[in-house]
């Protein structure tokens, strides 16, 4: 019996699991910093520990992101993030309708996974946004917060630190929401665990 399509080589799986673990650390420590002074469940880590863990995890996350960008370019994996479709918006709506309605009617997946196209339109759109807009914004704002001396004291009469911190918090929050939705949609395979298995052995096991 065939194992299925080999879509996730080792480097992608390494990057993905590292990214996931680091993101969880950053979420927990980030919330602990933002809500410092409050009790559990907001503050799981002491402020001092949260600062160290957040900074260390962020540093590794930046390296991991560089690996992702280089890997995507070198291996050609970036093609899965691009779309040449002339019906881009319609494709997004069609995929959304599948999740919203058609999958409950037992209709087939509108964009079956192939070696050439492993992401459906919604995945392609959200992954592109998260990895090529959200992550750079998160990283740049994080670096500026780490080196606050690089920031102007005021931007339009408001503290430069405040503006950058709001950008960092908002981006971090939206990426966290993305992660929640991402994890949930990964349970939408033929079995709830099928797609997670793909990220372990690299093979796409579903028939769509």
């Amino acid at each position: 019996m065939s194992k299925g399509l080999y879509l996730y080589p080792k480097w992608i799986r390494f990057w993905h699991i590292t990214n996931a673990v680091l993101f969880l650390i950053l979420i927990v420590t980030g919330i602990s910093l933002q809500f410092s002074g409050l009790d559990e469940p907001f503050v799981l880590v002491s402020f001092k520990s949260a600062v160290s863990w957040h900074n260390t995890a962020a540093f590794i996350l930046v390296l991991n992101y560089v690996l992702f960008i280089i890997g995507n370019q070198v291996t050609g994996n970036i093609k899965h993030y691009r779309s040449n479709s002339t019906t881009y918006i319609q494709d997004l709506i069609r995929q959304a309708n599948y999740y919203r309605r058609d999958m409950f009617r037992g209709e087939p997946h509108p964009f079956p996974v192939t070696e050439e196209s492993k992401f459906n339109p919604l995945q392609r759109f959200s992954y592109l946004l998260a990895m090529y807009a959200g992550m750079p914004l998160l990283i740049i704002s994080g670096i500026l917060l780490f080196y606050p001396g690089m920031l102007p004291r005021e931007i339009f009469g408001v503290s430069g630190l405040l503006i950058i911190d709001l950008v960092h918090d908002a981006t971090g929050f939206l990426l966290s929401i993305f992660m929640v939705i991402h994890i949930y949609t990964c349970t939408l395979g033929s079995k709830p665990t099928t797609l997670f298995k793909s990220m372990v052995d690299g093979y796409h096991h579903d028939d769509h």
């Binding site: 410092s36 600062v51 900074n55």
Partner: protein, 328 residues
Amino acid sequence: MKTLKNRGLILLALLAGCLFNIQLFGIAPDDSLVVRWKDINVFYEDNEKCLICHGEAYYTLSDTVAGVSQIRNMFQDYFVNREDYYDGVHKSFSCTDCHSSDFISFPHDVASRLEPRYTCIDCHGYDENYAHLNFEEIEVEYSNSTHAKVENFSCWKCHDPHSYKLIASEVTDVGELVLYDNNMCLSCHANFTEFRLLTDREEINVVSKHEWLPNQVLHFESVRCIECHTQISDSILVAHMVLPKDKAVKNCTECHSTDSRLMSTLYKFESREKRQNGFFNSIILNRSYVIGASRNMYLGYISFLIFFGVLTVIGIHVFFRVIKAKRK
């Protein structure tokens, strides 16, 4: 009357043909400044009789009998910068308002040099003109502070009466206040020459002692030493009870929380003056941003709504998936 007498004595001493003749050896102040200072202080000319030496970095000391003269440095502790003096809170004073008139003789006699000095409370205490500054409480806090245990320590070690300005209630730039206040502490705590005049303790390396602080430079630029090294006071604007080092604040959340102690210390005056909504501790935002203290509650509510909204949608989706699975 006393002032007139003092001025007469000074003049007499200068004209007495004393053995020592001291000559000005510096740059003459700008004429416009002199005009301004004369407007500020009616004793300007009298004060010049002291500042002719004490207002200069160098002076020439001459023995007119022996015909010997030498250029000498004015010892820094006895140097009074005219610009700072006429810009400070005591700008209208005559030197002899606080110092003995015996200083008219030169060389100054030892008894004059060892005269007891006034402290703040001597002039400002129990005076309704200064009631808002509550010098009585400042005195109580100071006497309970670790500084009061140091021999020969006095108000003047931190507050030079020849240049002191009211900063905490008057500056609009918090950074200026932080710099001014921290320089007071660092003038001893980062200057071992000054420090050892008061104590036998070994030299303190302020930077290495505070290595545990993340973003140390930013902390030093943004908050005063006294934020962590004094006990919060409700009755005075600037706390004066300096604590022993083992009682200094080391818990980050004392400042990095919505209940930030900065609102009772650094931003105390501003927080009394203005209150804004939306941001917790919004006054801090005028200059800086303190993680954990400057949270915006509206953004917090929106975040919770979005997060629970997403969870609700996922919950509904799961519900229909379960229904579908049961129908199979």
